[in-house]
Amino acid sequence: MTRLKLSVNERGLEADLEPDQDRAILIGSKVQAIRIGRTRLLTVALVFAVSFFVLAGRLIELTIIREPSRSMAFTTASPSTYTAGRADIVDRNGILLATNLLTASLYANARVVPDPARAARRLVTVLPELSRSAVLELLASGRAFVWLKRKLTPSQQAAVNGLGIPGLDFRDEQRRLYPQGALESHVLGFTDVDGNGIAGIEKYFDQEIRDRGPLGQSLQLALDVRVQHALRDELSLAMNRFRASGAAGVVMDANTGEILALTSLPDFDPHHPSAAPDMSLFNRATKGVYELGSVFKVLTVAMALDSGATGIQGLYDASKPIRSARFTIRDSHPKNRWLSVPEILIYSSNIGAAKMALDVGRDGQRKYLDRFGLLGRPSLELPEVGTPLTPSRWGEISTMTASYGHGVAVSPVQFATTFAAMVNGGVLLPATLIKHKTGERTVGVQVIRARTSRQLRRLLRAVVEKGTGRKAEAAGYLVGGKTGTAEKAGLRGYRRDALISSFVAAFPMTAPKYVVYVLLDEPKGDAETHGFAGAGWTAAPLAGRVISRIAPILGVQPIDDGAEPIRRAMALPPSSSVHYGSRNVAVN
C-alpha cells in the first residue's frame, strides 16, 4: 500500500533512479523524499489555511460586523463633485447668504484645435468679451491646457458647445455666489477666483469655511436679512436725501451682543469687488474710526453718576463758554444758565459735559473709557476692524473735549457695543457676528452699576421725549437715545461744513432689547430741515424710521407710551437747586 502511494506521489523521483541501484538505498532516498514532500505540503497547506482564515475573517467583518449605513460601496461609488470648496453662509433664520455652485469653465487643448484662427474668430462671436487676438495667441500656443474663460453662464456654455470646435472642453468649477447681492457685502466680504477668502467673514473664517466644505454644516451668522434690509434701505434713502458721502448703521441685541444688522454705504457687488470704487470697499461701520461727538456725553454722564462724582440732581454752570489756551467750548443750543444733569443730556450741553468730566477727573475718565472697551481694538469676527485713536497727551483739555466726543475716535460698531452696556444693566458684552447657540450664556463684564444703567435709561428716554432727539420717536416702542454731531477734522482745525451726524438709540427703554446706531458722513441740510445737517435733523429721524420698521420684525411688543405705569417708570426725579458735586472750573 505504501509503495503504491510512493510510486504515485514520487513518480518523477523514481524515474530518475538508476534501475540497478540497491533497493535499500532506493527505499532510503524515497523515505527522505517523502519527508521533504510532506513538510512542503504542510507549509503550503498552512499558508493557504491562514490566507483563507484571513479572507473569511474579512468577509465576516464586511458583511456582519460593519454597519450598513457606513457602507464602503456607497461612499466610493457616489461621484461627488462638491468634494472640496467653501461651506455655505446663512443668516440667523437660515436664509442663504453665500453658497458654492458648480459652473463650467472653458479650456482648450491647443494641440488638438485644427484651425486656431478660425476657432478664435468663431469663439469671440459667442463670447464677445474675449479679445480675438488673445484667444488666437492661446489657441496657437501649442500647449495641452489653456484656460479660455472661467465660470461661464449656462447659456454661454450652450453657445460654445453649439460651435462644435474640437479641442475645446469644459471643466466644472465652483463659483462663490451671494444670492442677496450687495445687502451684506461688508459683512460677508468676498473671495477670489480660486475660492480664497479676501475680505470680511470669508477671510476671517477662511480656514473653517474650507474645512467644513460645500456639503458640510453651514456657518450661521447673527445677521437677520430682514433687519439688514430695513437698515440699509433707510440708510440709503437718508444718504441720498441729505447728499451724504457715506452712511453706516448697526443693530445689536443689547443683551447678547449679537449684531443683527451691519451696513456701510456705499457698498459693493461681492461678485465683482474689483469693479467697485475704492471707497465702496471701506467698511465705515467697523474699520472707520470717527470722532462721534455728543453721543459720548452718555458715557460722560454714566461715569459721573457711577463714580459718584455727581448725582442725577447735580447742577452745572453752563451760563458762559469755557475758554482755555486755544479753545473755546461753547454750546450749540445755549441756555446760558445752570443746567441739571438731565438737562445737560437733553440740551446736549458741551460746557456741562466738560465740567462733569473734570469732576470725574482725567484718570477716572481714562479708566472708565478703558473699561468700556473704547481705548483698545475691539474684538469682532472681521479682519476690517479699526483701532481707536486717542489723544497722545491726555491733559485737562483732552478730558474736556473727550467728554463730548472730540479727540477720541472710535468705530460705530465699537460705540454701539459700549452703548449696549450703558442700557442693558451695565454689562459689557463682546460684539459678535456669529449667532449664539440656543441656551448659550454670554459672559460679560459689569462696567457700570445696574442702578446707573437704570438712571441712564430714564435720561435717554427724556432726550427723545423732550430733547434734541425728538425726531427719533417711534410711537409704541419707547425709544431712548442721544444725538451726536461732530465736525470732521480738516487740515486747519475742525470744518464746520463737514459733519458726522449720528444717533444712538435703544428700545424699549423699560428693558432695552435692541440698540440701533446710525451715522451719516457729511450730510447736507435741505429745505425741510431748514438747512441744518445736525444729528437732530438728519440722524434722529432716520433712527426713528429704522426702529419703527424693525421692531415688528423683531417681535417687540408695542406699548402705550402714554400709559401711567410707563410714564412713572420713565420719570426723572424732580429737579432741585442743590449744588451737587459740581465745582468751579478755572481753565485759563
Partner: protein
C-alpha cells in the same frame, strides 16, 4: 462508498457555483443601480443647491418690498395693530367657532378666532392696491404656459 461522497461534493460545488453566480450577477445589477442612483443623487444635489440659491435670490427683501409696493396694499405694521392675547376682552368666550385645546396660547381658555373686533386705537389707514400699469400682466406661477 466513494461515489456517493463524490456526488454530494460535486452537487455541492455545482450548487455553490450557481449560487455564487447568481449572487455575483445580483451584486452587479445592484452596483449598476447604485451608480445610477449616485449620479441622480449628485444631479439632484446640484439642482437643489441651485434652487436654494435661487429662492434666496428671489426672496431678497428689496425685491419683495418692490413687488409688494407695486401690487399689494400692505403697509408696515402699526403699533395699534399688535395686541397681546391677554389684552383681549374676555367676553368673547363661547361665541361661534371656539378653540378649546389647551395649546391655544391662552392657557386653555377658549378664545374665538374669527370676527374679532379690532381693539380701540388710532384708525389704520387703508389704501387701494395699485392697478397694474398698462401692458403689465401678473402671471401666477401655476398658470404659466396657459393662455
Amino acid at each position: 462508498m466513494r461515489w456517493p461522497v463524490n456526488a454530494v461534493v460535486l452537487s455541492l460545488v455545482l450548487g455553490m457555483s450557481l449560487g455564487l453566480y447568481r449572487l455575483e450577477s445580483q451584486v452587479q445589477t445592484l452596483e449598476r443601480r447604485l451608480s445610477v442612483t449616485a449620479v441622480q443623487l449628485e444631479g439632484n444635489r446640484r439642482n437643489s443647491r441651485v434652487l436654494v440659491a435661487e429662492w434666496s435670490f428671489l426672496s431678497q427683501p428689496s425685491r419683495v418690498q418692490a413687488l409688494a409696493q407695486r401690487h399689494l396694499a400692505l403697509r408696515p405694521v402699526a403699533p395699534a395693530q399688535v395686541v397681546s392675547m391677554a389684552s383681549l376682552p374676555r367676553n368673547l368666550v363661547g361665541l361661534g367657532a371656539t378653540d378649546k385645546s389647551p395649546n391655544n396660547g391662552n392657557g386653555g381658555e377658549t378664545v374665538r378666532h374669527h370676527d374679532l373686533e379690532r381693539p380701540s386705537g388710532p384708525p389704520i389707514p387703508r389704501r387701494k392696491p395699485n392697478k397694474p400699469r398698462h401692458g403689465e400682466r401678473i402671471i401666477l406661477a401655476s398658470r404659466v404656459g396657459q393662455p
